[in-house]
């Protein structure tokens, strides 16, 4: 009788709390609902039927009249299809289907889908991408699988967004060092990444100080110190089992006193579902900010993500972003067979760019991330 009792007690309390959650949510939902309603009022378009097409055609004419040189008929057809594709009415869609039957066979689509799924992009983003692609193919009237692949590449690149700022913030602000915090789950490659970044920074003639705030794993600080020693960078270390926040604090403090350009703080690996450890990480970040002047936050919080990680990568990114507000992602172990497609979904959901990629255990195996290169490897 004992176990079920415990369980039911837990259930009871849990339900009570969920109800609490229900109420807060309900209020939020209500507020949101109101906003949504206003939003919908503004663009009620779903009911347009015949108007849709005539409007599309009228616009067609108008634009043709407006410009001196009429556009090519093929282009105009594309634009008409585009409008039809956007319209919400059944008739518009039906017409689109009539206008443009896509002649690609299902196996091509399946192949495309498989490529994305095998790269760990995930089922939902894949379906969404492929659906959008199907639409575009209809609009453009493409039939050639090669062309479709080119379109897919384009879509993916626009998803990864090459225009995003992927520079590391490493210039110091008003005499204070730039502080970089490196976080991630166990075995993602944080310490190795810190070592490699230090090397790049030293090569750029910057002074660097390492902070070994991984006081948990056996020999982690030695591992970091070895990396530091290779490039002649000093490492601030604490005792094993010391408070990681205190190590981070003294590293930043010392970096400030010595006028160092960049302070790199390595943290212990932690699985994102361990709430205590995530709280600890939040504390490390807060405390590390303390020696810095007013308004100077930690400059970079890099999440190290293993390219072999599957759909759990999304969860990792979400929770770490919540805890320490990550500013960039380092995708490691890309030298293997894994493609790291999960970052597509991560970047889309959180808007945090991948800044660096790790390509092996060698000291110089760190490269800046390029959208095109990544997408090509993904589709390879």
């Amino acid at each position: 009788m004992d176990q079920p009792i415990i369980l039911l007690v837990v259930a009871a309390i849990v339900f009570i709390l969920v109800v609490g959650l229900g109420i807060t949510l309900r209020v939020n939902a209500k507020k949101k609902g109101l906003q949504d309603k206003q939003g919908i009022d503004a663009d009620v378009t779903g009911e347009l039927k015949i108007d849709d097409i005539s409007e599309a055609v009228a616009k067609e004419k108008e634009s043709a009249r407006g410009s001196e040189v009429p556009t090519e008929p093929a282009n105009r057809l594309v634009r008409l299809r585009e409008r039809l594709a956007k319209s919400n009415s059944g008739l518009g869609r039906g017409l689109l289907n009539l206008l443009s039957r896509d002649n690609l066979d299902e196996s091509t689509w399946e192949e495309i889908e498989d490529t994305l799924i095998l790269a760990d992009v995930g089922v939902d983003p894949t379906t969404e991408l492929v659906d959008r692609l199907r639409e575009r193919v209809k609009v453009l009237g493409t039939r050639d699988p090669e062309e479709v692949r080119a379109l897919l590449r384009e879509e993916l690149i626009s998803l990864v967004d090459p225009t995003m700022d992927r520079e590391l913030a490493t210039s110091h602000v008003s005499g204070e060092p730039a502080v970089m915090l490196v976080v991630g789950v166990n075995g993602a490659g944080k310490t190795t990444t810190v070592g490699k970044i230090a090397r790049v920074l030293v090569a750029e003639d910057k002074t660097v100080l390492l902070g070994a705030a991984d006081t948990f794993r056996a020999a982690a600080s030695e591992q970091l110190a070895t990396w530091g020693g290779r490039v002649g960078v000093e490492t601030v270390r604490g005792e094993e089992g010391a408070d990681p926040a205190s190590v981070a604090y003294s590293a930043v403090e010392r970096g400030k006193a010595e006028g160092t350009d960049v302070v790199l703080v390595d943290t212990a690996g932690r699985l994102q579902n361990k709430i205590g450890l995530m709280d600890e990480l939040g504390k490390v970040k807060r405390v590390a900010t303390r020696p810095l002047g007013e308004g100077h936050e930690i400059d970079e919080v890099l999440l190290v993500l293993d390219a072999t990680t599957g759909q759990n990568g999304m969860q990792q990114a979400k929770v770490f972003a919540e805890a320490v507000n990550i500013t960039g992602i380092v995708l490691t172990k890309l030298d293997g067979t894994a493609k790291g497609g999960i970052v597509v979904a991560v970047q889309r959901a959180l808007g945090v760019p991948v800044k660096l990629i790790g390509l092996g255990e060698g000291a110089d195996d760190l490269a800046p991330f390029t959208a095109e290169g990544f997408v090509d490897a993904l589709l390879d």
């Binding site: 176990q3 369980l7 837990v10 709390l17 939020n28 075995g187 030695e222 699985l271 579902n273 293993d306």
Partner: protein
């Protein structure tokens, strides 16, 4: 909405009721859902294909189409197949007839080999062996150092003649270690090797050389439970390179669904022998195929929940509460506080709620759940006097105002909490009677019904709540989407399974579509759940 496979299948089969037969189209829809669930759990695509192929065959057979409830039957088939692959051949470590037994560890970088080496040594030591660790990872900076510390914690001798960091020949170290073990009378040698990629031919050759040199009795392939589609390629490369004899799944304490387990087991045919579930020495266990199957299918994990509950709840307090409940006394706010303390120790509320069967339908709400909500509730209770906690009935307007002030909240919040508390009390009372959970069925848990889609209700605070209740009472007919009812039936089902008599509470509503929820509930009960209750069938 439909997050668990069983939820989705229930939806798929909803329109099927009464037909009694499965058409091919129905099966296809089912297979699509299964495929999706597996892919979401990171099962590799080729494995998903082979797997769904088999399911399809069985689903079209008499076994399923002839069953009374095809939806439920399909889930059962899926579960059977999963357990079949995952646990087709569980076995213990095979020890050499003439010691020392040699165990070699191999895997990708960061899979957790060194940590596992320590755990394995610790475990073997507790089994009465004299394990020795061999530091053959001379690649990663300070890996040797790490193994030495790990070995010290495990109380095992570490053979580390080379400093590592790129210096020394791992094959030589491994070869020598066997002689050392013989002279030092260690009966088990655990060789920790460097992490390597499947496509790194040079390093794979080195691993193969180590294997030839030490001729291990077991080669364990350590793989991260979070790994995605790459699992198949990696496993194949390692099978070819070092011909491993067993698999260890690491980082299972994370919240990944662990589909990799299925991929590796299916592709290589090698048994998964151990699961590594944390960073301390003891967090290491035999692999449970049935739990893993439930995890992959996102069925909730009651067993883990109970295990955690036992670990974290104060035994005496729980015993006291149990007596109290059995004696028919009311559950009061003091009990609530003590239980809450235990609950907090169990970690993230989100994770725990996620483990309850059937809860994944609230995934979105859970996602938005503010963990501090728990603290707010606690603040309210702590603002009460002891007398109020034992007897909440004495709470009048001015007391409530005082409590609200103390907890830094509004009277409305206090009222809401008290209302919910009354419902919880009813539930507890229901439990002692042995019947289902009348509190929940009889219009109880008012907030629950209001959770999804009731955002547009007019009025605020308590006023809104009353409406919710009255609306509920007046409703006829089954709204199977209603979470309160689902939860209630999940509970009812649990009781039913345990062989308890069940109050026909649900029927008080009139035409409630009971059957619809039934398969959903059953599916959510992991194997062995019945065994948790006395008299339950296993």
């Amino acid at each position: 909405m439909f997050n668990t496979l069983s939820d989705r299948l229930t939806a798929t089969f909803k329109n099927l009721r009464g037909k009694g037969r499965l058409s091919e189209a129905d099966v296809d829809a089912t297979i699509r859902e299964i495929r999706r669930a597996l892919l979401d759990a990171d099962v590799a695509l080729p494995v998903v294909r082979a797997f769904t192929g088999r399911i399809r065959e069985r689903a079209l057979s008499e076994e399923v189409s002839g069953a009374l409830n095809p939806g439920q039957q399909v889930v059962k088939v899926v579960n059977d197949e999963l357990v079949g692959i995952l646990g087709g051949e569980t076995r213990r470590l095979s020890l050499a007839k003439r010691p020392p037994t040699v165990i070699m560890l191999a895997g990708l970088q960061g899979a957790g080999k060194t940590t596992l080496a320590g755990k394995l040594a610790y475990w073997l030591k507790s089994e009465g062996h004299r394990p020795m660790l061999v530091a053959a990872d001379l690649q990663r900076p300070n890996a040797v150092n790490q193994l030495q510390i790990v070995g010290e914690r495990a109380g095992a001798f570490v053979y580390a003649p080379e400093p590592g960091n790129g210096v020394g020949d791992p094959v030589q170290v491994a070869t020598d270690s066997i002689e050392v073990a013989k002279t030092k009378l260690h009966d088990i040698v655990i060789v920790d090797t460097a992490g390597r990629l499947g496509i790194d031919e040079e390093l794979m050759q080195q691993a193969a050389d180590i294997r030839t040199a030490v001729n291990p009795d077991e080669v364990l392939f350590v793989i991260d439970a979070m790994i995605g589609q790459d699992a198949v390629k990696t496993a194949e490369a390692f099978l070819e390179g070092v011909d491993f004899t067993g698999v260890v799944l690491s980082k299972l304490d994370g919240d990944s669904r662990g589909g990799a387990a299925l991929s590796v087991a299916e592709v290589t045919g090698k048994p998964i022998m151990f699961a590594s579930t944390g960073e301390s020495m003891k967090e290491f266990e035999q692999f449970h195929p049935d739990r893993m199957a439930d995890r992959i299918l996102d069925m909730g994990d009651i067993l883990t929940l109970i295990e955690q509950a036992e670990k974290n709840f104060d035994e005496k307090e729980t015993e006291k509460l149990k007596k109290k409940v059995e004696a028919g006394e009311d559950f009061d706010l003091n009990d609530f506080l003590t239980q809450m303390a235990g609950l907090k120790k169990m970690g993230s509320m989100k994770k725990m709620l996620g483990m309850m069967p059937g809860m994944s339908q609230y995934k979105d709400q859970l996602e938005n759940f503010d963990e501090r909500e728990v603290d707010r509730v606690e603040a309210i209770v702590r603002s009460m006097t002891p007398a109020e906690r034992t007897n909440p009935k004495i709470l009048n307007g001015s007391r409530r105002a005082r409590i609200a002030k103390g907890a830094g909240t509004t009277v409305t919040a206090v009222n809401q909490l008290m209302e919910r508390f009354t419902q919880a009390q009813k539930m507890m009372r229901g439990m002692t009677r042995g019947g289902g959970m009348p509190g929940m069925g009889g219009g109880g848990m008012p907030g629950m019904g209001g959770m999804p889609g009731m955002g547009g209700m007019p009025g605020g605070g308590a006023n809104r709540k009353k409406k919710a209740v009255s609306k509920k009472k007046g409703r006829k007919g089954g709204q199977s989407g209603n979470p309160a009812k689902r939860a209630q039936q999940a509970q009812a089902q649990a009781d039913k399974k345990s062989g308890k008599a069940q109050d026909p509470v649900g029927s008080a509503f009139g035409g409630v579509d009971l059957g619809n929820d039934e398969d959903f509930d059953l599916n959510n009960l992991p194997k062995g759940f019945g065994g948790m209750f006395p008299g339950g069938k296993k």
